[in-house]
Amino acid sequence: MVAAVFHQRAEGVLPANQRAEGVLPAAKAEARPMPARAMAAAGEGAVRPTPPARAARDPFDWKGLAGKVLAPIAGLALLIGIWALLTQKGGAFPTPAATFDAAWKQFADPFYRNGPNDQGIGWNVLYSLERVGLAFGLAALVGIPLGFLIGRFATLNAMFAPVISLLKPVSPLAWLPIGLLAFKAANPAAIWTIFICSIWPMVINTAVGVQKVPQDYLNVARVLNLSEWKIATRILLPAVMPYMLTGVRLSVGTAWLVIVAAEMLTGGVGIGFWVWDEWNNLNVAHIIVAIFTIGVVGLLLESMLLLVARRFEYRS
């Protein structure tokens, strides 16, 4: 059940001194029902407690549906209701209806191009995703191996721990001038900023994962006399995978968070630039559309990685 703890979206409630984001006590892990093939396991002692059976309840779980579907809808409705209430007297801030109209027009033709500074929202999102993908990919390429080394060798851990603690809380905006100075161009500077901000969760989580590989598994490796390569591929990598994926998930989130700030300052096509450009045009409805779009894309990125992470769950 080790892995289950990584799939809760509860980073926000962690104490500040928690070393690896998202590493919660195992006791909070949700109980998951066993797959059917496990239930079929024959042989001694195969009779296991049945999972809190869903089948045993009524044919349709209305209460569960209300909790899962109606509650989120009610929350969203409340938000829009307050928004409508506050904007009904008119003013610079658009009403929900006006915003929805603007969104409808944007998403009806997301891929138009009217010159470099006026392109569809689809293009803006894609350009931003490209930057995030590139920067995050580089961060993974550097961060994950670095995390492995720091986790495996105590000396490296002692060397890098203070550096990481020092650099981790630095705001993305502070890194941008360094990037501009080093690369003398806006786009690489933006990528650099995302890179340096999104690398830390991957380094830290991978390192913690390596440090937390159960001693039992390492003892097995010792009595079987496994080679370093076998230890790395058959024991370390699978054991660290859930931690690593948590780091990856947090990193993608950070990268997507940073992109807006970076693009606002560096320009070029992208969702962050688009927000700033629409502010200059005083088109507030578009800014709100952009905010929702950024939120939805971030949510999708996270859900995708959660799906990947589920594939690497194992029960000991």
């Binding site: 066993m34 797959p35 093939r37 496990a38 396991a41 024959a42 042989g43 001694e44 002692g45 195969a46 296991r48 039992d216 598994y217 003892n219 097995v220 010792r222 009595v223 079987l224 006399n225 496994l226 080679s227 076998k230 058959r234 024991i235 699978p238 054991a239 194992y314 029960r315 000991s316």
Partner: protein, 269 residues
């Protein structure tokens, strides 16, 4: 016959924050090929420490251990270890768990198909052919322990080292696995050193019972020769043993050692 394993004056002292802690002292023991030896004693008497010395997971601070006349330096595939908590890798199937051990020992000489055959043969020996494609999370505790035994045996070790292998199982499963182990020992002629805290398990399975004094600075208190034909030669029927005079006498001697001579004192923390 020349002993297979010789432990000569072995001692183990751990360095702790409160100074050196003597766990074991002056251990002298010889185990012959094909012998089944049980190590018994109260918890904290260092029996697992002694097993770890034989396994090579720790190095003795005094004395020497010889296997077939050669000094033991670190773990090796000539000693198969069965851990109390099975220690199977949860991301590998039962077959792959066994295969991991097989590959290391025979991988240089044999092809994939042969190695796989070895792994499957080991699973068959412990009666788990039906579960070979299952993952450890999908089988019961008793089955996991049997996979652990298969993994150790598949390496064809000179010795089988077992650290309270059935300690975490319920009484009925434990009894079945003890019978299973006896059958495997008869079939393979394995030399076994088993740590246990179960008196019946020790008498039922072993040829000799090594009884440890209480720690710290534990050592061998008494060694009891079990007055029954060796396990590898004749099966011991659990029901017959229940009123077998020699068996009951051996059981009594062990109980007397544990509860009269070495009354367990809770260590003051």
């Amino acid at each position: 016959m020349k002993p297979m394993l010789q432990i000569q004056g072995a001692g183990m002292t751990f360095a702790t924050r409160r100074g050196p802690f003597v766990a074991l002292r002056e251990i002298d023991l010889e185990i012959a090929r094909g012998e089944f030896v049980a190590l018994i004693g109260h918890s904290g008497c260092g029996k697992s420490t002694l097993l770890n010395l034989v396994a090579g997971l720790t190095v003795p601070t005094q004395g020497v251990l010889l296997l077939d006349g050669r000094e033991l330096k670190g773990p090796g595939p000539d000693r198969g270890v069965v851990f109390q908590n099975h220690s199977l890798l949860p991301w590998l199937s039962c077959t792959d768990n066994v295969l991991l051990a097989v590959e290391r020992v025979f991988g240089a000489r044999e092809g994939r198909a042969q190695l796989r055959e070895r792994a499957l043969a080991a699973l068959e020996l412990v009666g788990l052919t039906h579960a070979r494609d299952k993952h450890p999370g999908e089988i019961s505790g008793g089955m996991k322990q049997r996979v652990g035994i298969a993994r150790a045996l598949a390496m064809e070790p000179k010795m089988l080292l077992m650290d309270e292998p059935f300690g975490a199982l319920d009484a009925l499963t434990r009894a079945r696995l003890q019978d299973e182990l006896a059958r495997i020992v008869r079939a393979t002629g394995s030399t076994v050193l088993m740590v246990t805290h179960d008196v019946d398990e020790a008498v039922l399975l072993s040829d000799r019972i090594v009884m440890m004094t209480n720690g710290p600075a534990a050592t061998i208190g008494e060694i009891l020769e079990v007055p029954l034909p060796p396990l590898r030669e004749a099966p011991r029927n659990r029901l017959e043993m229940a009123h077998h005079a020699e068996y009951l006498h051996a059981r009594e001697s062990v109980l007397e050692f544990l509860y009269a001579k070495q009354q367990h004192v809770e260590a003051a923390a």
